[in-house]
């Protein structure tokens, strides 16, 4: 939990102490550990929800304890010990109506606060940054539109004219900024959920749903698709990265750096050739050109059922791949980023994936046989039903040499 | 189907009142039929809602405005409406234990029903020839589903009407068969009122 105690937080803390005795519900309230803890808000919207929910959990817990105590008392007190048959009374209106009025009153209060909060959370007028989010089986694409004044998410790139930025896996937002995501889906319904920043919102194909985010401080906020979306639903994660303004500016500038081909003769240069022949059909690397100097534009909609594949232009600036399911960083390097103090986080994150930190094992396994790592179709023959298009990344049958070349090439994509 | 024990218990038991067979004095069959019709309201409600949601979702030139032939549909609506009248006449005839007229009106009702179904089939083929297949658009799917469900109900009704005519001819004359006729009548009128809704909501109100 954050170290900045405010009145509601102190109250919340007291409440948690009170709940300790109230069983499992209370116990989970004190957790600090899991990255997706729903009781550890670190941003305005999640805090709003939390301010509403903890008193309700408290009341529910108290009522529960009372009910159980009364049942226990009744069970002990009125056990058959040979007492005469009790009076055959059919009820007592006073008790009955009291117990209608009492819960009704409690619920009326709860309802009042609830309705208030619902409209609070639906507010979108004060947005400072817009990001488009698109779900597909089984990863998220993030698209930063360019505003009329040439800025992206409220920031103007210092090194180039802004063009729409497309990334995936990790979505980067500036801290202390009211971010509005506009979400949809390319195939089935997915749900976007960063528990520490806000509740979840379904991303429905054919509809655009908006949802607010606001992070108090820098850090990685973990999330997971929460609407069942098919075979690899479990492998559809997301991470929201909040960076302080300077760091966000640096990240933005880096994303817009022009493409640089690998130095001739290196493994990475061979990787570029392999990339063009094997990957460029679906995956886009902005700035990559063919022999004639024409840009190579991917056409995932011809090959992939969902019609999209992650943009790899700045692949190694993200720490995860394949729907944020696997780390590009080795465990040690990963810990350094995740556990960095708020002051150091920006620098640690912006380092990206360095050669010594690269988690080669998972990346190579992925390139060797992606569907074996992340199930994408239960029965390959059934793909005929979908016009022969692949669902997610197929097994390309790459040789080990090709894989090494590709890894070398990808390492430079940052 | 009120075949059961209740009759036995009350008829032959120590029932002093003698006349009523059930707790409420109402017929089991009729109660069941009304319950069924209440339930059907939610079935057709769902289908109508689906149509209302999707009625505007079609290609430029294959929507209601281009396809509907109001005079034709009005005529078949009129046929179905009149079949309700003949059905009522059959019921009153059955109440009088007038088997001849009952059979007559039931047959006429069945004919009118069959005429309506034939009209619907004709209408469907016209639409189909103009290019509106079942899967052409959301509008066409929900339209065919709604009117198709209704058409199946009418067809089942026609079969029931003809079956009742058959039963009437086989059984003893003068016997009270009014409840049987009344049951079919309730079903038939329900099919009619569903069409009253469809005619206005689907055909007359522009999309």
């Amino acid at each position: 939990m954050s170290e900045r105690p405010s009145t509601p937080r102190r109250l919340a803390h007291a409440a948690r102490l009170a709940l300790l005795g109230a069983g499992a519900l209370a116990i989970s309230a004190c957790a600090q550990d899991a990255p997706q803890d729903t009781w550890a808000p670190e941003g305005e919207n999640a805090q709003t929800i939390h301010n509403l929910q903890w008193p309700i959990f408290l009341v529910a817990g108290i009522v529960g304890v009372i009910v159980m105590a009364v049942v226990l008392y009744a069970v002990i007190k009125f056990k058959d010990r040979g007492q005469p048959i009790p009076e055959q009374s059919h009820g007592n209106p006073i008790i009955e109506y009291t117990f209608i009025a009492l819960p009704a009153a409690i619920l009326a209060v709860i309802a009042g606060f609830t309705v208030n909060t619902i409209f609070d959370l639906a507010e979108t007028q004060d947005t400072e940054c817009v990001i488009n989010v698109t779900g597909q089986q089984w990863w998220w694409e993030y698209d930063y539109p360019v505003a009329a004044d040439g800025s992206i998410c409220g920031y103007t790139p210092s090194n180039a004219a802004a063009v729409p930025l497309i990334t995936s896996g990790q979505v980067i937002i500036p801290t202390d900024t009211k971010v509005l995501i506009r979400g949809t889906s390319r195939d089935v319904i997915h749900s976007f959920w960063i528990p520490k920043l806000n509740g979840k919102r379904d991303m429905v194909p054919g509809r655009v749903h908006t949802w607010r985010f606001h992070a108090d401080g820098p850090g990685i906020y973990a999330g997971q698709c929460t609407e069942f979306c098919g075979l690899s639903h479990a492998n559809m994660r997301m991470e929201m990265i909040a960076l302080d303004p300077d760091d966000f500016q640096a990240w933005l500038d880096n994303q817009l750096e022009p493409y640089q081909s690998p130095e001739a003769g290196t493994l990475a240069a061979a990787g570029e050739v392999t990339y063009v022949s094997q990957c460029a059909r679906c995956h886009q690397v902005d700035g990559l050109v063919d022999g004639n100097g024409d840009p190579i534009v991917s056409a995932p909609d011809q090959w992939v059922y969902s019609g999209a594949a992650p943009n790899l232009t700045n692949f190694m600036t993200r720490n995860t791949f394949a729907g944020a399911s696997w780390d590009l960083l080795t465990p040690a390097c990963r810990d350094e980023v995740w556990n960095a103090s708020p002051e150091d986080f920006g620098a640690a994150y912006l380092k990206g994936v360095t050669p010594e930190c690269l988690n080669e094992i998972d990346l190579k396994e992925w390139l060797r046989d992606a569907p074996a790592k992340k199930p994408m179709y239960a029965d390959a023959t059934a793909l005929l039903e979908t016009d022969g298009k692949v669902r997610g990344m197929p097994n390309l049958g790459l040789s080990e040499d090709q894989i090494n070349e590709l890894v070398a090439y990808l390492l430079e994509r940052k | 189907m009120a075949d059961t024990a209740v009759h036995a218990a009350t008829d032959h038991g120590h029932d002093d009142h003698g006349t009523h067979h059930t707790t409420t004095g109402l017929s089991n069959n009729k109660l069941a039929m009304w319950l069924f019709l209440g339930s059907e309201c939610l079935l057709f409600g769902g289908l109508i809602s689906t149509y209302m949601l999707y009625r505007g979702r079609h290609s430029e030139n294959l929507g209601p405005d281009q396809l509907w032939d109001i005079p034709f549909t009005s005529a078949s609506s009129f046929v179905l409406l009149m079949s309700s009248l003949t059905m009522v006449l059959a019921v009153t005839a059955a109440k009088r234990r007038d088997d001849r007229n009952t059979s007559l009106w039931l047959t006429v009702t069945a004919m009118l029903g069959a005429l309506f179904v034939a009209g619907q089939i004709y209408e469907f083929t016209v639409f189909y020839r103009e290019g509106l297949g079942f899967t052409t658009s959301l509008f066409s799917s929900s339209f065919y589903t709604l009117t198709g469900f209704h058409g199946v109900h009418v067809t089942v009704g026609v079969i029931m009407l003809l079956s009742v005519v058959g039963i009437l001819m086989k059984r003893r004359t003068g016997e009270d068969k009014s409840e049987l006729v009344e049951m079919v009548g309730l079903y038939w009128h329900f099919v009619d009122i569903v069409w009253i809704l469809i005619f206005t909501l689907v055909y007359l109100i522009p999309a």
Binding site: - | T23, T24, L31, W34, T92, I193
Partner: protein
């Protein structure tokens, strides 16, 4: 749900049966003619939408309800029959109308 269906209704039923006889075949024919006229009016309306302006849909719906209720109340005898039948049927009918209406509202269907 269905309450108060005490044996008392039995005598009501008998009473209502007598009532029912007041409707002769002729009355039914008159009603059918009236319904046909209402239908004709509806059709006429659909050819003169401009004349009705914003009233078009409300009036059309009203006529639809009139026809619907006429068949239910008279052809289906619900007006004369035991109240229990009405309860069973209207429960379904009203539930369907309310629930589906709300569902369509949530699609903001009526905004368009």
């Amino acid at each position: 749900m269905a309450t108060d269906t005490q044996p008392a209704t039995h005598s009501d039923a008998a009473h209502d049966d007598a009532h029912e006889e007041h409707w002769s075949d002729l009355s039914y024919i008159k009603l059918a003619i009236a319904l046909a006229l209402v239908t004709a009016l509806e059709i006429a309306m659909s050819y003169t939408i401009g004349f009705w302006g914003p009233l078009f849909i409300p009036v059309l719906l009203l006529l639809m309800v009139v026809k619907f209720m006429a068949v239910v109340l008279f052809f289906m005898h619900l007006k004369f029959d035991n109240r229990l039948f009405s309860i069973m049927f209207y429960m379904g009918l009203i539930l369907a109308i309310v629930v589906y209406f709300i569902a369509l509202l949530t699609f903001r269907f009526f905004d368009a």
